[in-house]
Amino acid sequence: MLTYNQMVVDKKPIREDERATDLLFGALADPIRRDILRRAHEGRLSVSALAREHPISVTAMQKHVAVLERAELVSKHRVGRESIVHTEADALLRARAALDRLEADWRGRIERMDQILETDKGDN
């Protein structure tokens, strides 16, 4: 949650930022829409294919996708007659995800270093 929030904060002027945050939380506050984000990662599913995964109509799915689009969480592009949905992984968000992952790796390593130092002290 923090990641998305900060992404928006970094990108927008303050006023717009609040509106973007509202849109974001509104968009995330629905289990079907969260499921769309999970499924649309690879950008291969159409709106109608997504609709088949849930007991809802294509029109209802279009509305869900539109909410996610307004929050800039997904983008849509046309392939033939199909509308393909893709979860947006904006550059900043991806950079943050990469650095977050590195941080987690290093926190683990530092903790292990500390344990080694403590263990070796005990041995002496």
């Binding site: 990641t3 995330l28 290093w106 926190r107 903790e111 292990r112 270093m113 500390d114």
Partner: protein, 163 residues
């Protein structure tokens, strides 16, 4: 937790993590210099590491691999660039593919600095991605995992808020 500071620069694509330890600089340096000690902390418990070649001399190459839970091996290689014991170490970390050949664009640089005062040693590790491409490689799995984990955590939270 010994970690005292974490800095992320999203433009320069660097992470700097600083930690304090109740040991002297020489002792911290050993954690890097001795391959048997390095093996005890480099890989996570799920992926223990084995250092095949390792010597902290400028120009030397370190080769290592990590063994995953299913026995799969992830190979890595460092190019040691600068060595000033026990205070400074700079190297580049090359990701290798399954055949042990360097993978395209997977390099990250690592700079370790160690300072000591009053029986406390401070170690700072700066890691940087060489470019966007190598960053993208690191997050191929990490990003998807992180995103899925975040969404999974949101499910019960938001579900409870609506109930």
């Amino acid at each position: 937790m010994p970690v005292t500071d974490v800095e992320k620069d999203l433009d320069a694509l660097t992470l700097t993590i600083t930690a304090e330890f109740g040991a002297d600089a020489e002792r911290l340096w050993e954690l890097w210099a001795d391959p048997r000690q390095l093996e005890r902390w480099w890989g996570p418990p799920s992926h223990p590491s084995t250092f095949v070649e390792h010597e902290l001399t400028a120009g030397a190459r370190t080769t290592y691999f990590m063994t995953g839970p299913d026995g799969e091996k992830h190979h890595g290689r460092w190019r040691i660039e600068e060595v000033d014991p026990p205070h400074r170490l700079h190297m580049t970390d090359d990701e290798l593919d399954d055949q042990g050949k360097p993978a395209d664009g997977g390099a990250t640089g690592m700079t370790v600095t160690i300072a000591e005062a009053d029986g406390t040693a401070t170690m700072s590790i700066q890691t940087h991605f060489a470019d966007r491409e190598s960053m993208e490689q690191t997050i191929e799995t990490g990003f998807e995992q992180g995103m899925t984990e975040m969404l999974n955590k949101l499910d019960p939270l938001l579900g409870a808020a609506r109930a």
